[in-house]
Symmetry: C2
Amino acid sequence: MAKELKELTPRSVNYAQWYQDLVIKADLAENSAVRGCMVIKPYGYAIWEKIQRILDDMFKATGHVNAYFPLLIPKSFFSKEAEHVKGFAKECAVVTHYRLKTNEDGTAVVVDPEAKLEEELIIRPTSETIIWNTYRNWVHSYRDLPILCNQWANVMRWEMRTRLFLRTAEFLWQEGHTAHATREEAEAEAKKMQGVYADFAENYMAMPVIKGCKTESERFAGALDTYTIEAMMQDGKALQAGTSHFLGQNFGKAFDVTFLDKEGKIDYAWATSWGVSTRLIGALIMAHSDDNGLVLPPRLAPIQVVIVPIYRNEEQLAVISEKVADIVENLKKLGISVKYDDSDNRKPGWKFANYELRGVPVRLAIGGRDLENNTIEVMRRDTLEKETITCDGIETYVQNLLEEIQKNIYKKAYDLRASKIINVDTYDDFKQKIEEGYFIMAHWDGTAETEARVQEETKATIRCIPFEGDKTPGKCMVTGKPSAQRVLFARAY
Amino acid sequence: MAKELKELTPRSVNYAQWYQDLVIKADLAENSAVRGCMVIKPYGYAIWEKIQRILDDMFKATGHVNAYFPLLIPKSFFSKEAEHVKGFAKECAVVTHYRLKTNEDGTAVVVDPEAKLEEELIIRPTSETIIWNTYRNWVHSYRDLPILCNQWANVMRWEMRTRLFLRTAEFLWQEGHTAHATREEAEAEAKKMQGVYADFAENYMAMPVIKGCKTESERFAGALDTYTIEAMMQDGKALQAGTSHFLGQNFGKAFDVTFLDKEGKIDYAWATSWGVSTRLIGALIMAHSDDNGLVLPPRLAPIQVVIVPIYRNEEQLAVISEKVADIVENLKKLGISVKYDDSDNRKPGWKFANYELRGVPVRLAIGGRDLENNTIEVMRRDTLEKETITCDGIETYVQNLLEEIQKNIYKKAYDLRASKIINVDTYDDFKQKIEEGYFIMAHWDGTAETEARVQEETKATIRCIPFEGDKTPGKCMVTGKPSAQRVLFARAY
């Protein structure tokens, strides 16, 4: 790393700039030469690999298998499901030709006009269509069901305004696509996967979420129900961190996926789909990080512990390194990922700032006096607290500390949310509180018109109709009409 | 699985048809609605996941990290490296537009002519260009080097004749792209990764390989040297199972990636790239499988052991299941993946055939008499041998058997290759032996003309100039001109 570490823009000055600074300076990602497409740098990708591994294990534990479907989708497939086409056959990358050639004077490469495709192909924005076209041949009888497939893939949506991780033209994700013999089973599957996402968000990302379902206008194009988990970022805005869709028989009908049921009758298969993406890395950053840099929950940190030696000369370094070797070995035995940074091209102070920037949960430092006293300095990234403790039993101490940091990061996020979520009963109050960055629980008359008006006037959307909490009926804050329960409004990423 | 198991075309009747039958019937992959693009089905993908996990660990053990670069590459990038453009800017998928719209009468979705890109984008056929364009900003000083990045990604080459796994328009692969301060370091890296591939092929895929370098005309477009591993399939044809390229400073110069060296002089960075793909699954199939189906080396088998109960009634099944539960638990403790198939919709004979087709290395069967005698039937997939042994210590027995199968599959492939690799000294002999499916070691005069003539007349290519073995000079079998050493000729996939 040749460049010097530089200060981040503080969150209080410009939250959006702070985010952008952090992503770049912590070496997580950068913009590429292709509009809206990012390069995920090794440190950012290492976080994605942790996310992938954990989620993949959770998917497999719930009976799913991975498969892989084509990147390109025939244009006509999008027209087969009436709602889906409205949502997805818009801003997308279109392949029209399959050959380049050298131009006549040999100076440039040009598209060969003779290599035009009969039917254009679309880079998948999501894969329901190509997958359900495939399932048609996989499903004949109820015995072939359920199909419980997931794929890890890249997808592309030609977004006009992009932000690293949060909204990019190409992004990485997983998309589960399941087929079932009954409505009940498909609905249960969609809810189960929402539960898996919530479990992951809370117990690994240390990010509390509100589970609920989307309103009709916020649903996935082609879904009968979209289940979501909504998280609060530090600026009070919401981030949709995962969605799971009950698709009914819409895709079964559009792609003629039928089966003989137990009674020998032909029926259409029932569908779900569910996905999370590299957007989660954006959520992770905005939920926990501070003006010094990333704060990573230990369970997702590529490096959980860094050890920095502080030495006057080579001899002292040798003694420190010998002592540290044991600690490293013991930490690894406990399954903790640890890095010993004895590089000699940077001073300890620079290293400290660098690992803070990168969100390493625990930093150990050991110097000459520590050698004499058999001590070590421990710094925890979440609170930046330092203490000097004995080396005896340091490994167990660190193991417990990592657990405590994981819990503390969650608690901080939970407490912040608790302080910024309120009930509001009048539209005037609503307008004021939404400006102040609150999650607002308010009554709504259930119409798309009111929803659209609120969005237009305040930029807030209904994030979800929460499953838990107060279910008391009331009156819509805008129209005064009856409301079945309060719903969650917020501005959102 | 609703369909009945059907016989595979025997290898001796039609090797190509046998391969195609096997891929389809063992549920590994199928063709999709998009020309040349395959669907990798869950069982095939599970093999790919094993391959990925093992290789990824090997890459990390050799100091590499993963990252992710954009799917789309600006067309102009291909023109920047003179040789590279000849090799890759040909048959490829070209994105020309970024929006679809509904046509005027509302009946179809069409490409919006107003959403034409200023510069066309190419779906990556390989990523040297976009990655080296990125590296330009990562590299300033020798301290920033080496960069040791790998990515797992999909790529696309618009192949005219495709075959599942072996040659598809879209395929999955990993591509390593490294940047170095010196020529020596880059060359060593390229050879090291060839070594990693050879290690993986031999010790995991149980597939012996010949290591060597490519002739100039068979090199990767833009490389100074291409190192390859070549494997023999059962029909005597060669399959290039992995390549590693020393790219010199070609991409450093094309994308202006310079650095200050230790002496303070500016130099261009040195490059390597290396990759293996889902093609390896094709190799795995063709190297080992037989007329009954897949034969998977235990180290890559998604299911290593299957246990099938043979029972007369529910009571007996309950007793068997109780006994099997212990065996399953003990096998899992040994790190062995095991499936107990007590499904009641298929007879044991059908299950036996099914697991043979899918190449599960060890099958255990247990019935009423076994219960009385405390025995179990063990069938090994590689030899199809059965024996009945005591249940005492069955877990260790199976563990050892899996190791033995791994070795035996390798030995079988090694022996086959040994029997089909010969020295040939005259072109007449060559023409005959190449028809019979041999790997031929012959002298060659080192010219591209002779190489092209041999290919045109016999369809054989020089697979590599082997690193090991006989280095005695001689005379070209075609022209009689001097030859430095024998090279490996074969027909190839």
